[in-house]
Point group: C2
Chain length 457, copies 2
Amino acid sequence: MPKDAALDALASLLGERLSRSKPDLAEHGRSESHFPTTPPDAVAYPESTEEVQALVKICAEHDCPVIGWGAGTSLEGHGLAVQGGVVVDFSRMNKVIEIRLDDMDVTVQPGVTREALNEELRATGLFFPVDPGANASLGGMAMTRASGTTTVRYGTMRDNVLGLTVVLADGRVIRTGTRARKSAAGFDLTALMVGSEGTLGLVTELTLRLHGIPEATSAGICAFPDMGSAVTAVMETIQMGIPMARIEFVDAATAQAFTAYSGMEMSQAPHLLVEFHGSPESVAQDAERFGEIVAEHGASPFQWSAREEERRALWALRHNGYYAILASRKGARAVVTDMCVPISRLASAVEETQADIAQSCVPGPILGHVGDGNFHAILLIDPEKPEELDEAKRLSHRMAERALALGGTCTGEHGVGLGKMAYMEAEHGDGWQVMGQIKQALDPKGIMNPGKLVPQG
Amino acid sequence: MPKDAALDALASLLGERLSRSKPDLAEHGRSESHFPTTPPDAVAYPESTEEVQALVKICAEHDCPVIGWGAGTSLEGHGLAVQGGVVVDFSRMNKVIEIRLDDMDVTVQPGVTREALNEELRATGLFFPVDPGANASLGGMAMTRASGTTTVRYGTMRDNVLGLTVVLADGRVIRTGTRARKSAAGFDLTALMVGSEGTLGLVTELTLRLHGIPEATSAGICAFPDMGSAVTAVMETIQMGIPMARIEFVDAATAQAFTAYSGMEMSQAPHLLVEFHGSPESVAQDAERFGEIVAEHGASPFQWSAREEERRALWALRHNGYYAILASRKGARAVVTDMCVPISRLASAVEETQADIAQSCVPGPILGHVGDGNFHAILLIDPEKPEELDEAKRLSHRMAERALALGGTCTGEHGVGLGKMAYMEAEHGDGWQVMGQIKQALDPKGIMNPGKLVPQG
Ligand SMILES: Cc1cc2nc3c(=O)[nH]c(=O)nc-3n(C[C@H](O)[C@H](O)[C@H](O)COP(=O)(O)OP(=O)(O)OC[C@H]3O[C@@H](n4cnc5c(N)ncnc54)[C@H](O)[C@@H]3O)c2cc1C
Ligand SMILES: Cc1cc2nc3c(=O)[nH]c(=O)nc-3n(C[C@H](O)[C@H](O)[C@H](O)COP(=O)(O)OP(=O)(O)OC[C@H]3O[C@@H](n4cnc5c(N)ncnc54)[C@H](O)[C@@H]3O)c2cc1C
């Protein structure tokens, strides 16, 4: 078997850092959502770009699949070794290489997590804003083009990656981008790599934009009589140009799950959780103006605070949202949807989705980054009941089609992985074939995360 | 000749809208800078995506080069038909197709110019911010990844193109992106196309982000004792987080050229031209804070105004900058440089560049979008004196190498065209070969703007 030859060669390259232990394989064969466990043949723990390069060369020689692994938090089975091969776990490449205060940028290894980076930055007055909730690795976040609660203000990984070091399928190492804030020097390889889900190469270094920690922050929460009025309030706030740093929607079912999980009392109604960044005066003003808008839509008084602890409690609640929802049905696994639509379509998208779920046997609390037009239904299934998985997939399918019909995308931020492959053709038409041509040009043997993102076969 | 067969077929497709008149060929063979006139074999004036598709299919069949043409304002000879063929002039595809106020986006044909678009948007309270000074076409701006005076606040074309319709080299038509604000659905083909300079396909439609016209604007100008203090003031303003909408630098030679061209009196010293967007209070505050910073660096009092006419006069001055500088040396042509470096390197980059020019026989006033770390020396040569072109190229070469040595890019916004091909390898290493592989995959016959951007031969 050529794969065995590859594993032997990798073992001599990495020694103990090539693992074939059962628990390690199982750990790197699971996903955070409903996909069946799919262990790889081995797990590699490289420590440098050079080692990754040597590793990829060995795999290329033996046609052995190579799959990157950051924190393993992606939700569509992105990192599963569906054709076997080696999972490359970047947890030992977790150094912050250089922080450049004057340029407000930082170079990191891919295994650094967003929380670790912000911890490291704490004393500098700067922070890295992209926040997918989970404590994901920056390499993984770049590869899924992650975004999150702060995207409405600070953008996605697309906007915050200045450059990458990538080991390509044939072992060449390229450095994309520069440290300049912009460039017009040829194809934007950085943007091509961001969101490529490890199908074009392995990322071994990232240079990221940093932002100044705002002088002041205000955050708050309010409840709405119904979902429609909450979403309409979001749309108006955006159109008024009030600069939100975060604006998150949770429906009544999610609010209930939050209460049960955290003990913090929330009425069983749709809510918005909001944050503003600026000067002490501007964040107070923004909160006041927002309070006026939501009052017009029948919301409870917008309770806001500029105090750090209250703010932290609010976002801890939101960050635990997925787990709170999972806990609301004992033993459940989740099928997570990720519609993103033009803002004008948000109200109908959410309403139709909720109506769909209401008619189904599968519960599906909804929450989302509504400032970007992006929301998730967390469809809770009993893993012992295949009919529930089928039903969840049917719902999820309708949502993806709805997103496309409304001029949006089947995945705002989670990415394609295994779960969204079925919509790529509908979303991109011949553009999907173009992705396949690019993949074929850069990875003709198809060793980089095979079975994902591009047309197969 | 296969080309003749292509031209015959195109003539039957387009009738009078395929032109072979001498003046038309000459007009589409010139560039705004120093490149020799290079007329194509024909100029086509299509009126729809379908016509462009039919045109490209004919050219593909006959291996005939196809080169897009927007407003012809690019500065590196991007649109020159160096291997002959057909220039596709998009001036008849100049319709604003749909403005969507609620979503703050617009779909346009590629021949719409940025001024025409903003004129059309005038009553809506929205505007399109990317401003390269020249009244370029939006198709051309997307293809060069243009930016300009407002990029420090609103980003480049990379940040403001949501989606594109592209006719590929084999005649397939793809639609990249969606109208959602973000997506994680596969390779970012929109970003790959933006900045591709027509080497991957012809753009026939663009969907663009719009922004709210700020409630209030303040703008002003001040003079500095020397270049170093002006640039240091810029760096400090950025690091203080004062949200500039524009911050432009002009050196003493440029100030002199401005005075001569416009009659508006400016001291012969380096200047900064600045604008702030926000509420009436915030723009006043920003201007005050900025005034304090520049005062610490020995600047003249920062004279600012929130009045529309004064603001317009200021930016008309800046927008005419290139022509004012050209006029400062009779009969001159320009070699334009386009360094962009990390902000921390800006002062040394500008100083070393000025020192270089001071030692040369070629005058080179400097101006630039310093908030992005981007500046231009406009090297003025007598077109009758080849030794001056050589000297300008030598200077330009040193600047490009300096940009790279400082961690920046050889072109911040103008693009590669013919003039920056020589630096692609140094800037991108093997990444340049990767660009070539992508080109080869999508345009194996090399008919789309041949001779540009990717490795040749
Ligand atoms: C509770 C919860 C909440 C979430 N909320 C959000 C959210 O709000 N927004 C959002 O965008 N996502 C969200 N996610 C999904 C997830 O956090 C993101 O997809 C994240 O970007 C994955 O990062 P990771 O480090 O876990 O990557 P992994 O899951 O380890 O890998 C993701 C993909 O990238 C590849 N990869 C990883 N590292 C590399 C590398 N160095 N080189 C090449 N390929 C590599 C893998 O092969 C895989 O294809 C959430 C997940 C959970 C569990
Ligand atoms: C006075 C002056 C000031 C300038 N200042 C700036 C500045 O501040 N910032 C900046 O970025 N640039 C600046 N430029 C350069 C120029 O304005 C930009 O490069 C602009 O983006 C070019 O647009 P255009 O419509 O003129 O394109 P063109 O010059 O016509 O074409 C540019 C390239 O795009 C291709 N192309 C055009 N349309 C299409 C299409 N529909 N499909 C496929 N390919 C196409 C062409 O083949 C060519 O390769 C300036 C130029 C001048 C003359």
